[in-house]
Symmetry: C2
Subunit: 154 residues, 2 copies
Amino acid sequence: MEKGKRIETAKTNSALYSLVEALRDKSLKITDERLSILDVLVKQTKPITIKELHQITGKQGCDLATIYRLFNLLEKHKLIQRTDFGDGIARFELLTADRAHHHHIICIYCSTVVKVDECFIESIQEEIANRSGFKSITHKLEFFGICPRCQKKE
Amino acid sequence: MEKGKRIETAKTNSALYSLVEALRDKSLKITDERLSILDVLVKQTKPITIKELHQITGKQGCDLATIYRLFNLLEKHKLIQRTDFGDGIARFELLTADRAHHHHIICIYCSTVVKVDECFIESIQEEIANRSGFKSITHKLEFFGICPRCQKKE
DNA sequence: GTATATGCAAATCTTTTGCACCCCT
DNA sequence: AGGGGTGCAAAAGATTTGCATATAC
């Protein structure tokens, strides 16, 4: 997409546009670079690494440092969630209305990622709070296993 | 501890000695370097980073690369577990009999770590297996919150 | 004796940062 | 106009790797 036209185009994409609104709310500036990043982000169905996102945006995109800076900002504002699949590379995905808190199951052979919608942990956190004295408890949970396709190869 | 005497001394420390037995079982060589690493490891009450371990062993210890190589090996043999506290630094702890699978709660302010003994997830994994078709499911779960001491500072 | 382990240094990879310049609001 | 935001390059940190040497078995 041609730069400069992105802000206009964003209006036709509701997921993207609501993100733009969120940026405005938080007094974050809306730039072509940010729009191209967010445009890729809203299309993902699973967490994406910064390197992957950088490759997808290609020459229309922006510097890696800009993506790192934006993602740190968005994480601070709770608009994206950082996920760790245990390989030392940070992955990110949107945390907007229809994409509330959830987990994943990752195939240890082929890295296929499947979303796990239910989160069963909230009730447990209460008990942990009582016992440990901690408050404002959150959690990170990922499942690992062997996906159906890889089971066939065994 | 003086090098060369470690293998003898190991026999007086049951936690360390059972680890040595495990190495022998798997045809891994028992060196002074490995003993000094494992000696520190068995004394920990929470996951330790490789840098921390390297500093504790001090000049009696070994090269960082040796620790990295040993830990990758031990992880492959399921003798230690890698833990991620979300800061991009790998932490490790023993996975021997009395230290079975468990989780942690980490203070987001001061990084205090408290062990969470119960693991409530096993039953959930069964349901996820049924629904997703994945098998051999494992999981990584960490809790984050504000510890009692940091609550007082707020 | 042989396979494995180690030290050292260099390389790799992810992420952060300093700084001059640019642009959204 | 002014405070972010960006690109570029350099720096910082964690981890891995190649290779010659050393050592457990």
